[in-house]
């Protein structure tokens, strides 16, 4: 049993940012306060202590639950009289929770700072940019980012580079290349959680999805997911509480070229949508609208999906995308796709 009005302060000490969430438990549990600070990697207690100080002053003493990618964060439990939940336990708890939510083949895509520490081919990143830049300048920007992971992109070009790095990082995720398997994608961390233009994340995912791939996307827009996993590891009752951790963004369909899609809303008529090659189309549909979607082709495959903030996005671009770093044609194509997705009117869900 949860003690009425018991508070839990959940801290996720990430590679670059530490996120703190005050969760109030009771009849209507909710995340009351959200704060974040760069992770003081040389002394994890500094940023942790500041966040605790800022939140605890506004509340009665909460129970503190820590999780972190840093192993040494476990030592903070003595200083802050906190519980520590390791990342593997967090992951296991989250996947248990996903099954309770009936998420089909859930897959977490984490946009956190560790993506920037991988080895890249700079030309792979440069191919996704809509502006001209030399390979050397791009390497310098990535090199600087790798030394100051907490920095925030200030302009569009910097954001595009960070998105391109995520594309390069996620491009090795096998599930995105397997059209036979429907996945529920949970996007979290970094620009995937914090960007105010969520359709840019839709484009990022569509760019990587193989022809025929269909996914339902949920967004962790407060970067709360890891903290939530740690919370439910400690307090199982929260598994059944609606903390609005994830937002249903909608369904993404990669056709890989021109095609026809049937949408059965359970009404008297089935909607048929024809997509031309290179077209990206939006079908408005809210989160509550359950749709049986089928791609018409040699083999008719049916998917049970729903709308969401984006609705249902149909992508008629040929996959894999024929993009090449340094080519004006590629830059123009990327720009036109960004503009196409930028026109999406987000739906109230």
């Amino acid at each position: 049993m949860i003690t009425p009005l018991e508070d839990f302060l959940n801290l996720d000490i990430g590679t670059s940012w530490t996120k703190a969430f005050l969760v109030s438990a009771g009849q209507e549990s909710s995340v009351k306060t959200t704060l974040k600070l760069p992770t003081s990697a040389e002394d994890l207690s500094f940023s942790t202590n500041l966040l605790i100080g800022k939140i605890v002053s506004k509340s009665k003493t909460p129970k503190i639950i820590l999780t972190s990618t840093y192993n040494e964060a476990a030592d903070l439990t003595k200083i802050f009289k906190a519980s520590f939940v390791d990342k593997e336990t967090v992951r296991n708890e989250l996947f248990d929770w996903f099954s309770l939510q009936n998420f089909e083949n859930p897959l977490i895509l984490d946009g956190g700072a560790s993506n920037y520490l991988r080895n890249f081919r700079v030309s792979d990143i440069g191919a996704y940019l809509s502006f001209p830049i030399s390979e050397t300048d791009l390497e310098n920007i990535i090199g600087n980012k790798s030394l100051r992971l907490e920095t925030i992109p200030e302009d569009r070009n910097q954001l595009e580079i960070e998105e391109a790095i995520l594309r390069s990082s996620f491009s090795i995720v096998p599930e995105l290349h397997n059209p036979a398997k429907f996945n529920t994608l949970i996007i979290t961390g970094g620009i995937l959680s914090w960007s105010t233009e969520t359709t840019r994340s839709a484009l990022l995912l569509l760019d990587l999805m193989a022809a025929g791939k269909v996914v339902q996307v949920y967004r962790d827009d407060a970067a709360f997911l890891s903290s939530y996993g740690a919370l439910i590891a400690q307090k199982k009752n929260f598994k059944s509480q609606d903390l609005k951790t994830l937002k249903n963004m909608g369904c993404l369909v990669s056709l890989g070229g021109s095609g026809k899609v049937s949408l059965d809303y359970g009404l008297s008529e089935i909607q048929e949508v024809t997509i031309s090659e290179n077209e990206i189309a939006l079908i408005p549909a809210t989160s509550s609208q359950k749709v049986e979607l089928s791609i018409q082709g040699s083999e008719k495959i049916k998917f049970r999906v729903s709308g969401g903030e984006w609705g249902i996005i149909l992508d008629g671009r040929i996959k894999p995308l024929a993009l090449e770093f340094g080519q004006e044609k590629s830059r123009q194509a990327v720009l036109s796709w960004q503009q196409a997705l930028g026109k999406v009117q987000l739906l109230e869900i």
Binding site: L37, S47, E139, I152, E154, R156, W194, S195
Partner: protein, 352 residues
């Protein structure tokens, strides 16, 4: 918002200077001894390696006959120019002689009739390099407690090296091979906004010990070897790309030109010992602190000398940046008078 705290230029600060032994050393200073920069703290021997002398081939003899032509045996000490093998030619037509290429000891005659000569180690007197007190004598180094100026860099590559500080260009200049001249040999050079790869190659050829520069291309930095040493030490003060060396660092180094310093890529710093009347309190040991109005900050920006400024105001809540991301905002005024608004998380607090 919290930001990393960086002490870019520490004046009149105490530090321990590590003097690594170049080879087997016998220390002549002990903990607590007072030393001057030129005081000898250890007598060391630097191994000069080995060399193969091709006796059989050069005498035109078979390998098994080599021993009978040798004038010295295994274990003998030999000297440069000394005749070590002689073969008389048939019919009294003269003789063939082989001289030692260096001072050394014959250690082996191999099956090919080649002589392995181990060169005699070169004696080196290791001096303190800075005035102060011997703080610690370790197995492979000796630490001198001294004082002076410490310049902290952003990135570095190469082991600790020493030399006279020399300016090779203004903050905005590119460090091209033309800037590296013969008189740079053995010195620590500073200046410039971008260290070109060709300049690094020329500096290596000329025996330059170190270069302190504002920026370097990331690919050239990686070619210096991460965690290894290619024979030169590079300290990057601002970041990757074309970034003028900060005015604070440049002006401090201009005042220290022609003094003796130590640059370390591993420690990312340049130490210049000096005679000081008083010591400043040691730089803060904290790495981060909360950002405040009037803080001196470093804003990483390329192609401009406007990188050090003062925080004029801080936003009280997050704003949406041009990138579409929410962030706490700071307004920063540079020495040039230019004012910019930046994400607070992108700043470094400069401790002065």
């Amino acid at each position: 918002m919290i930001c990393p705290l960086v002490t870019r230029v520490s004046k009149e600060v105490g530090f321990e200077l590590e003097r690594k032994f170049p080879g087997p050393c016998k220390t002549v200073a002990k903990e607590g001894d007072k030393v001057e920069p030129e005081s000898v703290v250890a007598h060391c021997e630097v191994s000069a390696g080995e060399r193969l002398v091709k006796i059989a081939h050069d005498l035109g003899a078979s390998a098994k006959d080599v021993r009978k032509y040798l004038l010295r045996k295994i274990g003998d000490r030999i000297y440069r120019g000394e005749i070590i093998a002689r073969k008389k030619l048939l019919l009294g037509l003269g003789k063939k002689e082989i001289r030692s290429p260096a001072d050394g000891v014959i250690t082996e005659i191999d099956i090919n009739g080649d002589l392995l000569v181990k060169f005699l180690p070169t004696p080196i007197r290791l001096v303190a390099g800075a005035g102060g007190t011997v703080a610690k004598v370790g197995g492979d180094s000796i630490f001198i407690k001294t004082a002076g100026v410490k310049i902290k860099g952003y990135a570095g590559a190469g082991r600790i090296r020493e030399g006279i500080i020399k300016n090779i260009g203004g903050p905005q200049e590119f460090i091209t091979p033309q800037k590296i001249t013969a008189d740079c040999s053995g010195k620590i050079l500073f200046g410039g906004s971008l260290l070109e790869r060709a300049a690094i190659e020329k500096a290596l050829t000329l025996g330059v010990h170190g270069i302190v520069v504002g920026g370097i291309n990331h690919r050239d930095f990686l070619s210096l070897g991460v965690g290894s040493d290619i024979g030169i030490t590079v300290l990057v003060t601002e970041g990757f790309g074309n970034t003028p060396i900060g005015k604070d660092i440049y002006e401090a180094l201009k005042k220290l030109e022609n003094q003796f310093g130590f640059v370390s890529g591993e420690a990312k710093n340049l130490l210049i010992p000096a005679e000081l009347k008083s010591l400043q309190a040691a730089a803060s040991s904290t790495f981060w602190r909360e950002l405040k109005v009037n803080d001196v900050v470093r804003v990483f920006r390329q192609h401009t000398e406007d990188i050090i400024g003062t925080v004029q105001s801080l936003g009280d809540k997050e704003e949406i940046l041009n990138s579409g991301l929410p962030a706490e905002i700071a307004t920063v005024k540079f020495l040039s008078g230019k004012v910019v608004t930046v994400a607070s998380a992108n700043l470094e607090i400069v401790e002065t």
